[in-house]
């Protein structure tokens, strides 16, 4: 029931630190003993002095990002990273996937495997491994892919969830398209599920929903951490028999990744608003779920600017539509509800056959997890993890640009 996180590269380490921050503050908030114990057990190791140590391994080919993440964690005072749970070199990967995958990965394989093995052995029971990285750089993408391959070899029976951050479409790194394509191609064979966050989308959430004027990477990372936290914190699942699930990654994978060719998952959360507005807002599950469903089928990632005209095609005479229609067909959806009155929430409109592909029955395609504990200060919140056509557009863009660069001259 414990998850070991491997943070790779600057992005992975920065996002990972924010994620553990969110998880820790949510776990320790209020008097919620069972939830708190379950959450801490899942992500933290309780040292003999009573400190919380994150079950994480930090890897980078240059030391600055790791140092700053570890210092930030220490400064917060509520949790920290293990003193020896990090590995860094001095020279960086130069934004080069090949450098990461073929040179640095094999060179440092033993050291990294040792660090992960130590973390895994400290868990009573391993729920799975989660890697966090970006696809644009060199270390996260290259070394991350290589390490995933190693982990797959060493832990063949464990679930591996890869969390990827996709870069801005207008460029952060010129080689980002090559690095992304190479990473995704390899990860598809190795990973059980790939959860994606795109910088463009999260940037939009920061500016339009959270009203942040000067958006820094910390803001972006916090939104990602909030969305991931909503997925990973303990919840009651259909299989968990009235207690918090002991197998979160396994149940996520079995709920969503029903076919080995379809592993890309996207995440949407509702509501998302500036923290100053939260105490003055109240929500109903009906309202939240209605918006979330429309966000899903119209492929909008935030509750502003939703196109309410998009409707599922009629049940009879449905043609298998290709990307081009604005309706987002899902393969499978996982809805996670947290907060007050969660058992009264009606999820029926997510179970309609029209929003799913015809070859899977809605009963199998849709799952719902619930937790009566409010998450991260929102009285009611809903997270939707979706295996759908949503990422097709950005993926097509990345592949097209990579091909253009490759095939020219």
């Amino acid at each position: 029931m414990s998850v070991v996180t491997v943070q790779l590269g600057q992005c992975g380490n920065q996002v990972g630190q924010e994620l553990f921050d969110v998880l820790c503050s949510d776990a320790l908030a209020g008097h919620r003993k069972t939830y708190s114990t379950a959450s801490c057990e899942r992500f933290f190791h309780l040292t003999s002095q009573g400190d919380l140590e994150a079950r994480a391994v930090l890897i980078d080919m240059e030391p600055k990002a790791i140092n700053s993440s570890m210092t930030k964690a220490l400064k917060g005072g509520r949790w920290r990273y293990g003193e020896a749970s990090h590995f860094s070199q001095k020279q960086g990967s130069g934004n080069n996937w090949a450098n990461g995958f073929c040179v640095h990965g094999p060179r440092h394989k033993d050291a990294v495997e040792e660090l992960v093995r130590r973390e895994v052995e400290r868990c009573d029971r391993l729920a799975g491994l989660m890697t966090m990285m970006s696809v644009a750089g060199g270390t996260g993408s290259g070394v991350g892919t290589y390490i995933t391959q190693c982990l797959r070899d060493i832990y063949p029976a464990s679930f591996i969830l890869n969390h990827l951050t996709w870069p801005y479409g207008t460029g952060e790194v010129i080689l980002q398209n090559y690095n992304s394509v190479l990473t995704l191609a390899h990860l598809y064979q190795l990973s059980d599920a790939i959860v994606v966050h795109e910088n463009d989308t999260v940037h939009g959430i920061c500016s339009r929903l959270l009203n942040i004027k000067a958006i820094a990477f910390t803001d972006i990372n916090r939104v990602i951490a909030h969305q991931l936290g909503g997925v990973l914190q303990p919840a009651l699942t259909p299989d968990s028999n009235g207690v918090y699930s002991l197998n979160p990654l396994g149940e996520l994978v079995s709920a969503l990744c029903c076919h080995p060719e379809y592993k890309l998952l996207s995440v949407s959360t509702i509501p998302q608003m500036p923290s100053s507005s939260v105490p003055y807002s109240s929500f109903s599950w009906t309202g939240l779920l209605k918006h979330l469903r429309q966000m899903l089928i119209s492929n909008t990632k935030m509750e502003e600017g939703i196109d309410w005209h998009v409707r599922p095609p009629p049940a009879s005479g449905r043609i298998r539509s290709v990307a081009g229609s604005s309706f987002n067909t899902s393969l499978a959806n996982l809805l996670i509800l947290r907060g007050k009155d969660v058992y009264c929430a009606e999820t029926g409109n997510f179970e309609e056959a029209t929003i799913y592909t015809p070859w899977l029955s809605p009963a199998e395609a849709f799952s719902a997890w619930k937790s009566p504990i409010p998450f991260n200060k929102y009285e009611k919140s809903a997270t939707l993890v979706s295996n759908s056509q949503a990422l097709l557009g950005p993926l097509e863009d990345i592949v097209r640009k990579a091909w253009n660069m490759f095939a020219s001259r």
């Binding site: 060199g138 207008t170 080689l175 020219s408």
Partner: protein, 399 residues
Amino acid sequence: MEEGVISQILQGPLRELFDSAQLLTDVSGSGNNWATGHMTYGSVYRELIVDKLRKAAELCDCLQCFFLIHSLGGGTGSGLGTRVLGLLEEEFPGVSRIVTSMYPSAEDDVITSPYNSVLAMRELTEHAHCVLPVENQSLMDIVQKIQMVAHGAKPELMVRRNATLSSGQGGVHEVEKPFDAMNNIVANLLLNMTSSARFEGCLNVDLNEIAMNLVPFPRLHYLVPSLAPLYTLADVNAVPRRLDQMFSDAFSKDYQLIHANPKQSMYLACALMVRGNVHVSDLRRNIERLRPSLSFVSWNQEGWKTGLCSVPPVGHSHSLLALANNTCVKLNFMELKERFSKLYRKKAHLHHFLHVEGMDLGCFTEATSSLDSLIEEYDSLDATKDQATPDPLRLRIAT
């Protein structure tokens, strides 16, 4: 190859930084002759240079890159400098070589500078990973502009500079030597480039990432540098410009460190390295704002490399270094070629070069043809500018 400059450094405030083992001087200089520097001194001092380099490299935990700083117009910097570049490639093949070269301006005081430069350029094209060309004329223009702004905008600044009371700012010298302000700008260029390697930030850019991202084909590695805001030693208290203005400035031709107008030519790639209190949203906003006025090559339409470093330069809240791999450098090369041809046609001053052992006309012809083919490569890329290139056909997936 002459002692004067190094002696001056050893008597100045930085003398503690240099060890005698790192220094190499000779007596008579290279006489502004590339061949003397490259062939004669190159052979004489080869072993010693390799030895000193090896000693310095061994002191490093992890050697990432060599910086070569020299001018192309003279004899030692140009000739011996490019010889050292070749040595670095032989002895340390895995380490990248970033070269900052001072290109001679049209009114250069060294008559043989076109010869020296063209001969050196061949070496740079073959052996360097990445070259940052800088021109003296541009630096002079920039220094003049700074002085105009400082004097025009704030008359009281002039009074303060001459006051006997110390103003307590770092780096204000009473007696400024003529090239100091210009050299300071180049120093700032290098400082900004290495800032992400030295300080932390939310989006680090290492030195090896610069060449990796900005050089699409090995020979096309000439990057046009531009800095904003501009300031010199004595000007640390300049008026802070608005952030967006800083981005616009970096793309205007007055801020480039060589005479070039990148906006009118094609970008192969561009890097923006920002220091200070700048957020990713500011960066994105400015990229979106400036993008329509720039033309990028067809296979790299959104080719931006961005870096954010949290620590700003001394006395400023933010600064920007833009490195552009742009086809406008071909115009500088064509001018250089022109000046070279003027002399070469008449075989003027050629005998000084040919008298040096190891040098013959073949070297000249090779150097010219290397420069020609470089110009042609940039030309052929330029020809695709503004052409709507259709996307190449995608691969078919086997079903």
